[in-house]
């Protein structure tokens, strides 16, 4: 009765080995390219109203003109996150502004007219990131330095240079990003010689307009296309020094996606120059002031302009 001396690896070793192999295999799963299975076009957007509207715009244009499935990934928390997401291929398209791309993504100094900035951004994006820029949508969402309408009328103010004289008597309110951006407060104050009695109050973007109306502050930096400007009787001072770079709205798109689906480019080109500053303000107001659903607002816009 000869026993087996050369015992094979006992059961427990084999079980442990199985677990380890399974664990390692599960790590490789994601690497086998889940992104490539995706047939839908993923559209991202940042987390404020105008971006949601633009994102919805892109989605509906692509859906109706190409019949490709579209996924919406809105409310991404900012420029950096959108940029990372499109680099990683997690989203295929998102709305951006040329001035923001220039200063925040490419980290170049602000300056130049609309055409120059657009071309510089387009070329750099193509070379460095393999991203394509769509044509300008037609509006300039620049920073709007706003004061109350009655102040503007009373003091006969039209431009920032004129308003600079009154700044020692005023309090300013700005969002956090405006304070920190290279194209933000510091440069503006230098360019126009703004001298406020106290340091500017920093608050959430959504609260700025209200603070201005309620006379807690006298001058704020909002968005040019903010829907509530006329509703609240706010006045936008002209940037006569052209301090702010242009912020033309464009679509940033993954070149790989366009190569696979050239029909997307054709669909997006339909939007070139179709949205004026006023158009954007009206759509923003419909959502912010009248609380309409962005999907409906966008659909009505496209129908009204025969873009569907």
């Amino acid at each position: 009765m000869k026993a087996r001396i050369h015992s094979t690896k006992p059961l427990q070793y084999r079980i442990a080995l199985t677990y380890c192999t399974l664990f390692c295999m599960s790590l490789l799963l994601p690497i086998t390219g889940c992104a490539s299975h995706r047939s839908a076009i993923v559209i991202g957007s940042k987390n404020f109203t105008e971006q949601l509207i633009l994102g919805e715009l892109f989605a509906q244009i692509i859906e109706t003109h190409t019949h490709l499935p579209v996924e919406r990934r809105f409310y991404l928390a900012g420029t950096f996150i959108c940029h990372q997401a499109i680099l990683a291929g997690r989203i295929d398209i998102y709305p951006e502004y040329t001035g923001t791309s220039l200063t925040t993504v490419l980290k170049q100094p602000p300056g130049g007219n609309k055409q120059e900035v657009y071309e510089r951004v387009r070329d750099s994006y193509e070379k460095e990131f393999n991203l394509a820029l769509g044509p300008p949508l037609g509006f300039n969402d620049t920073f709007a330095i706003e004061i109350r309408g009655d102040d503007a009328r009373r003091l006969h103010l039209l431009t920032l240079s004129q308003a600079a004289a009154y700044t020692p008597q005023w309090r300013a309110g700005f969002g956090y990003e405006f304070m920190e951006r290279p194209d933000g407060y510091k440069g503006l104050a230098t360019s126009y010689g703004l001298r406020f009695a106290e340091p500017p109050r920093i608050m959430d973007l959504g609260l700025l307009s209200r603070a201005l109306v309620q006379r807690q502050v006298d001058l704020i930096a909002g968005d040019n296309t903010d829907g509530l400007i006329s509703a609240l009787d706010l006045f936008v001072l002209e940037d006569n020094h052209h301090y702010f770079p242009p912020y033309e709205a464009v679509a940033v798109m993954r070149q790989e996606m366009l190569t696979t689906h050239p029909e997307v480019k054709q669909a997006m080109d339909v939007l070139a120059g179709k949205i004026s500053d006023d158009d954007m303000r009206r759509m923003n107001y419909a959502v912010d002031g009248q609380h309409c659903d962005p999907v409906t607002v966008v659909h009505e816009f496209l129908a009204a302009h025969s873009l569907l």
Partner: protein, 258 residues
Amino acid sequence: MSATPTSPAATNGAVIEFDRVFFSLNGRPLLEELTLSVREGETLVLLGRSGSGKTTTLKLINGLLMPVEGEVRVSGRSTKTWDAIRLRRSIGYVIQDGGLFPHFTVERNIALVPRIEGWGHQRIGARVRELLVLVGLDVELASRYPSELSGGQRQRVGVARALAADPPILILDEAFSALDPITRSEMQKEFRALQQRMRKAVVFVTHDLREALLLADRIALMEEGREVVNLPVTEFRVSQHPLVRAYREAFAGPEEAR
């Protein structure tokens, strides 16, 4: 090709020699002026109380410790000049409760030194079988784990493991002290039989007089790090040295008390 040392034994035939060895740890002297020798085929039993320096002496043989003064020689060469690994692989070491690796089967435990010495697969298998038979174990136990064995079985495996590469020297530290009296007695008898067949140089540590008398060719009685008495077993049995008598009385039974 076994793991025997390459140098010949010293001129007087001693395989292990202690030459006025002094050892201390953290300032405390553990061994003083220790001089003894063990010949090929001889079994020396180190007898003494706990703390008398017996285990320290064993560790000086296989190079786990080095003498502070004096010299320990194995096969004529000082342990300081031996390659530690080669020295230890040519000495079989058995401790209380076997010191078996709990995550190795009996077979892998026994085959430990042959495997790291690069023996062939077949040869190892045959040797393990041979040793299991030699120490009186059922060959089927090879694939069991130490936790599945009784104390006595574990001890036998420990002895088999020590003998695996056929070393010329065996050192055992209280190897049978944790066993029940019946098993212990069996192990002693079997070990005695094994010794007479194999003729290795054996140093056996115990605090049990009866065990010493049964297994020894010579007995060295140690007390507080010194060797007090070193006699052939027959002389030790009738020695009138006070410490020897004290020992005999401690183990007094009608036959031993005198």
